[in-house]
Amino acid sequence: MKTRTLLKSATALTALALPLALAGGAHAQELRMTIWSANEAHLALFNEIATGFAQLRPGVTVTFDSLPFDNYTTTLTTQIAGGNAPDLAWILETTAADFVNSGALAPLSGAFAATEGYELGDVTKQATALWRANGELYAYPFSTSPFALFVNNDLITEAGAQTPAELIEAGEWTWDNAIAIAAAVADSGADGLIVRDFNYQLWQNLAAIWNGWGASPWSADGDTCTFADPEMVAAMSFIHSAIFETGAMPGPGESTDFFAGDAAMTITQISRASLLPTGDDAFDWDLVPLPAGPAGDYAVIGQAGIGVFGMAANPDIATEFLAYMSNPENSAKLARFFPPARQSLLNAETLGATNPLLSVEQLEQVVIKGITTGQVLPGHEGFAELQQVIRAELDALWVANADVEAVLNSVCNRIAPML
């Protein structure tokens, strides 16, 4: 059995090492791009764009390699370690700093500027901020998706509470009132508010709440922990109370699904609108902006960039393909699924044509306002390790009698040497 243990660890590392020595054998005209979507409609659109590029550059083929989202970055970096780096890859906002600062990505500004009709100035500076280093652009922000609240008006009215639309109309759409709605629905037997994908693991998704208090996990330069600052303590105390005192949010270890009609509200990105049930399971839903917090109105966005790997076989042609894929014409096509970063496309008319489920008001208040004013989810160099360390420390917070301030201080003590 001893040999089995050795075999497992050694074989895995050999599998990484041997291809490293054999790297660089890919054909010059074949591009591979890793993505985390396996959606057929997405793939059909990508293939349509790739076909268009092949007409401009005969002989160039582009394949799209769908990797599971849960382990996307791990799989991507393992491919890179094995000498099998893709030519292009989607990159999550949380790991942007790792990729942008590593030197692994090819610079894009020059190639984009030299592409006729590209109009790089049309891409909002806010959207590209995360993907720049020393003034150079290293990835194109192809998807900029705001967080918002999906609402089940049926459950809310059954619980005798005011709907978010009514509160917005009255100018009273605040977190205090939003959580009161969630608590009222929870009292009536359903669940209140779900922060989708948080699951007491992906704590960074709580930024959709704590940004309303002006809180953040670390300073803007990423050097100082701010988890224990008064704003974060207040925001986390609010969340803790909603979970363990009012029951407005489902507790740890409880699974519930807004889109199955189990909860009053969920914080998620607008792309999840496709999960809304139809037919007999349909309910009266709404999409509203995040409520105002003590720090006022705010918006939070998730981002995904596309980068070109400098160590892959074809960085020049891959950059050319990315310029083609993100040009104004193709950006308009991609806007059907991925909220665009181009100012010229950020209007209700363009977005409405590709998001028929959303009203003009929802598009203006949630999507356009969110993209133009939203802060990106927190990220940092070495984020994967920070994520796990903070997750482990925050587990002490998710119990009924937790000392919020003490837990957040312990988070800072733990991560300070890592920042």
Partner: protein
Amino acid sequence: MERRDSLAGYLFIAPQMIGITLFVLIPLCLVFWYSLHEWNVLAQTFRFQGLANYQTLLRDPGLPPVLGATAIFSIGLVVFNMSLALLLAVLLDQKLKGITLYRTLFFSPVVVSLVAWTIVWGFLLQNNGGINALLASFGIEGPNWLRNPTTAMISVIVVQVFKNVGLNMVLFLAALQGVPRELYEAARVDGTPAFRQFTRITLPMISPTVLLTSIITIVGSLQVFAQIAVLTQGGPGMSTTVLVYYLYQQAFQFHKFGYGATLSILLFVVVAVLTFIQWQMRRKLVFYEN
């Protein structure tokens, strides 16, 4: 003629030797080589840094809780698994109607997909899952199994034991059926109580199997990964972060391949030492070994 026989012998063992060389010896050397380097995957740098990773190992604040969790998991798993397997084997070593059905039932989890098994248990162990719903029907408020450090570790151990106890049970059953019946008859004639028969006849006679199953179970316990990844992701806190899972995190999630290789060397040493100790203990504890 003698040389031709030798050649034939070498040819027969060649496939095995090639396999061991390619998939055990070379990777083992490579793991040690990598452990002496800092390997930044994204920056594509591979720098020799001597024993720096081993120094990091000694100073790593995450390692003591990981080793603690690994020890608790391994001890809990070995004690619970072997006790239950032996109990089941004794109970099923009877000539009763339908006994084959019971043996099949207890063995069947062994052939079920590990990940599927663990995912289903994950649903059952949720705070609003099947187990707590069952307890609630008896008026008992169950704990939040996977969110409390103690119950999370117990849950992971129990899920693993129920998955694999059938394998040890079958081995014990085969050993029990190999114990000569006349020994029990003689003991009965002498008026020896049943428990004393078990400790003085059964256990010594099946001691080689006890050694085998203990080695298999301990080494298996040090390799646990999927259950942790699916059920707890090492939490709450670091309470279920065992050595293999920590190694995976360091190498594949945090991209510290050099340090991950160092941790795998540590795992190798732990397994080697434990196996050596067990092998030495057989002189005192194993009887009737061929």
